[in-house]
Subunit: 329 residues, 2 copies
């Protein structure tokens, strides 16, 4: 079957709150991360800034894992709303960058455009066969929690983090302030426009279109995909049509509750990678086994897919990190 990897990028001003996201060298820099991620994913190097997709400590962005393992897979980038637009071909849906959810995420009209156009895009892509949908949005685990709560799920403190030290108190404070303005349960578009972001809504809408068009959908991500699945369901999608693929690091994250959230939303098909990077010769990859990164840019799907075809992912990921000159032993 033909497969397509869709990566939905966008920003939320939640990532500017100091301490909430480690997906960038500074809070302001997190707004560049989605663009750099997908520029690198498609071309092998970031374009917007002259950087490598690796932290100063040598920890690679999950896009490195995804790129290393998906050279054979066509990719389509959807820009749901980014402060820094990626300099590659990107599908736009009429969305805008997400604001700070304590004051509102985006105009209702923009959210409606994203929902309608995401669905229309998904309908076209459905004929491809299998469509895996990943994401890159720093601050996304916080907006995911807010979205789930706004839709009426008990998600307090159950979403994950790219950091080994999930800043749960800070995230809860931000989400609580955001939720104070609304009365759950909200509909999908209201939840996204009030306390969400453009990315989760776009993922949900594209998934809806693919499912309606008869394609196979795989949500490729961690706890954020519970929020996407919940939005999909709130948009009228049949949750039985959904599968989710993630990493072992997400499943093992004791600071979150991936399986519990998926169960509550009703997603029953969960695929997870089995690879450990603990034995890697690159210390940046060993850090993954200590809880850094965990997911993002469809890494879990890429790992699971490689494993399913009998490939050991680690040597390929190490080779890509070597190519970048960033395999520190």
């Amino acid at each position: 079957m033909a497969e397509l990897l869709v990566v939905v990028v966008g920003t939320t001003d939640v990532s500017l709150i100091p301490g909430i996201s480690i997906a960038g060298p500074s809070p302001e820099a997190t707004h560049y991360t989605p663009a750099l991620d997908v520029e690198y994913l498609l071309t092998g190097r970031p374009k917007t800034l002259d950087v490598v997709p690796v932290t100063p400590d040598g920890i690679p962005t999950p896009a490195v894992v995804t790129r290393a393992l998906t050279g054979d897979l066509p990719k389509l980038v959807v820009d749901a709303g980014s402060r820094i637009p990626p300099k590659i071909p990107r599908v736009v849906l009429g969305g805008v960058p997400g604001g700070d959810i304590r004051r509102g995420a985006m105009p209702r009209e923009a959210a409606e455009e994203v929902a309608a156009n995401g669905r229309l895009l998904g309908r076209q892509l459905a004929r491809w066969g299998r469509v895996a949908i990943g994401e890159s949005i720093p601050g996304g685990t916080t907006t995911a929690m807010a979205i789930l709560l706004a839709l009426g799920y008990d998600a307090w403190g159950r979403t994950s983090s790219a950091s080994p030290d999930n800043p749960k108190e800070l995230k809860a404070r931000v989400v609580k302030e955001a939720l104070a303005r609304v009365k759950p349960p909200l509909d999908a578009v209201t939840a996204a426009s009030e306390v969400g972001d453009p990315v989760h809504l776009a993922v949900a809408s594209i998934a809806l279109g693919v499912a309606e068009g008869g394609g196979e959908v795989v949500l490729a991500g961690g706890t954020q995909m519970a929020a996407a699945a919940a939005l999909y369901k709130a948009l009228g999608g049949d949750v039985e049509r959904l599968a989710v693929a993630t990493t072992r690091w997400i499943l093992e994250d004791k600071s979150a509750d991936f399986l519990g959230l998926m169960r509550e939303v009703g997603v029953r098909r969960v695929y997870a990678s089995r690879s450990s990077f603990g034995g890697s010769r690159c210390r940046g990859l060993r850090a993954y086994d200590r809880g850094y990164v965990k997911e993002g840019v469809a890494m879990g799907y890429a790992l699971w897919r490689a494993e399913s075809s009998g490939v050991d992912p680690l040597p390929q990921v190490e080779a890509e990190l070597e190519r970048l000159g960033k395999c520190y032993t």
Copy 2:
């Protein structure tokens, strides 16, 4: 084999020159046409304006034919550079709307982005199988003539027109003034940025990526596709990989020279529709046989494809026009 229809839209300020384009009720309105075309193609109705895709005389835009015949075909819209952005999912490449070629079409940097990103997009789409690439850009037969001349081809007065009265003298005057600023033969990016438009360059670049990625490319259009093929060749593409699909109305257009241009550029595989609309019960469709419209929005490909699968296109096109309430007898 899986098929994908890519429609590349954009604008050139050449269409604002009174008398040069009939693709809109006024010169200014031509800037809305690409958006309305693809909004209708994907959703069944224009969104940006509350209009029907039919002239007051009942002559449908070619998008009506394409939509009537391609319900089963996935579609992707690429916005190479439009003054009025279509309100549907659209791939952007970093291009800008085209200026009046008498003063320069677009900044070199924008043309380079379109060329690089079009190629990158084509590479991803190549795995689809067959990629047909159509266009919607009022004024495009004029910029096509200028592009061909800038690349060193003898194209004076050989491109077609959506009007039964090809305004060849006016077009030649505009092109002559544009060409006065340059010294052919130019490279592809310079030709497009000086005297072209974003659309032809995007079509050429996407085709290049698809061909390089091992996909099958069909350029879906009239004499403009000679300009796209020439740009493709100037970008280093293997012209043997190209096929072109157009309408019988283009082949029969005595005001232009489709086959001669294709021969000169080196495109040897030419497919053409055989349908006549002369016996239609809708007078707007009968006008096609008198030289109105002729091509656009991949109409020739849609007709040829339907005919190749044994379908008589006319009843389906008439049914779509009926649905729009615009089949005047």
